[in-house]
């Protein structure tokens, strides 16, 4: 299922609620910002940011694995979207 050798990559996984999903956390944060005086804030959506360090033969393989992990566990595609960005791990 997963590579156990090859170089190490950093997958940055951004998980966000779909636009059709109500986000009470985001609404509460926007409320707070408005109270602080940031009247220009139109809207806030809260999400998750995950860093996955993984071994894979290539960036493409790392991308494929990160997306598979996102589909299966990191995101719930009933309510969330995700985006994976791969870079060589330093």
């Amino acid at each position: 299922m997963s590579e156990s050798n090859g170089p190490i990559w950093l997958a940055s996984v951004y998980v966000t609620l779909k636009t059709v999903v109500n986000d009470p956390q985001g609404l509460a944060i926007a409320d707070g910002l408005h109270t602080m005086g940031y009247d220009g804030v139109e809207d806030v959506r809260a999400g998750k940011y995950l860093q996955v360090r993984l071994r894979a033969a290539s960036a493409e393989e790392a991308q494929r694995l990160a997306e598979e992990m996102s589909d299966r566990l990191l995101a719930n595609t009933v309510i969330e979207n995700y985006r994976c960005v791969i870079e060589p791990a330093s």
């Binding site: 109500n22 009470p24 509460a28 998750k48 566990l73 719930n76 009933v78 309510i79």
Partner: protein
């Protein structure tokens, strides 16, 4: 009828379920640790409430991959009765054994109180002893119970009659005031298309004896016995 209660690290409704089934309903029941891989001899599976794996990532997301869940999925696909209570409901939606998902409550509050739900369907193992329109008074305790499904899926769930319970007032009226967690269509419980898997946010096992403030929950647990032909 042999009941099994799945126990994940972080489950906290497991002993309530074991008590309600073993002592109140008087049926054989055993706890099944999530590391087990077999449901041999089990005729009804309860996925209890709590905070499996600390609700990390999303409620139910990690529990859904516990070793026992392979057996639970096979049991469900073979038509075996499965009841998910609160966190168990969340686990079953994550496992895609039930449609939709449970979101953070609309007001961001953890709600611990008694609520009323109206019975919408009696063609599931857990509502066969009820009548459509029956109002049950049950306790809830959750922070993420706001039922969501995408518009097309919600329409399909409604058209298929998969909504089993809706939040209502004591007379059974579904009013905005009774939708305390922001669930779409006031949904408190749903079933799968085959109708053998049911999930609900309220806790029937915590409201199954008068001494605990209400016994309506027993009617849900009792209903399951009809599957095995056991007379109450």
């Amino acid at each position: 009828m042999n009941f099994g209660v799945i126990v994940f690290p972080g489950s906290n409704g497991d002993h309530d379920a074991l008590h309600a089934i073993g002592k109140v309903l008087g049926q054989p029941v055993r706890a099944i640790w999530h590391r087990e891989t077999s449901l041999d001899g089990i005729e009804c599976v309860i996925v209890p409430g709590g905070f499996a794996y600390g609700d990390y990532l999303r409620a139910g997301a990690i529990a859904r991959f516990s070793p026992i869940m392979g057996a639970v999925e096979r049991f469900a696909r073979d038509g075996g009765p499965v009841l998910g209570i609160c966190n168990g409901f969340q686990v079953l939606t994550e496992a895609q054994l039930l449609p939709g998902s449970l979101l953070r409550n609309a007001e961001l509050e953890f709600r611990s109180q008694w609520v009323h739900v109206r019975t919408e369907r009696t063609d599931t193992p857990f509502t066969s002893g009820l009548a459509v329109g029956d109002v049950l008074r049950l306790p809830i305790a959750h922070g993420e119970g706001s039922y969501f499904a995408a518009p097309e899926e919600l329409a399909r769930i409604e058209a298929n009659g998969q909504v089993v319970f809706r939040y209502c007032d004591p007379t059974g009226a579904v009013t905005p005031a009774t939708n305390f967690n922001g669930s779409l269509n006031h949904i408190a419980g749903v079933c799968n298309e085959r109708r053998n898997v049911v999930g609900l946010m309220p806790h029937p096992e915590r409201g199954a004896e008068a001494i605990l403030g209400g016994a309506d929950g027993l009617r849900i647990l009792e209903s399951a016995l009809s599957v095995a032909g056991v007379r109450v």
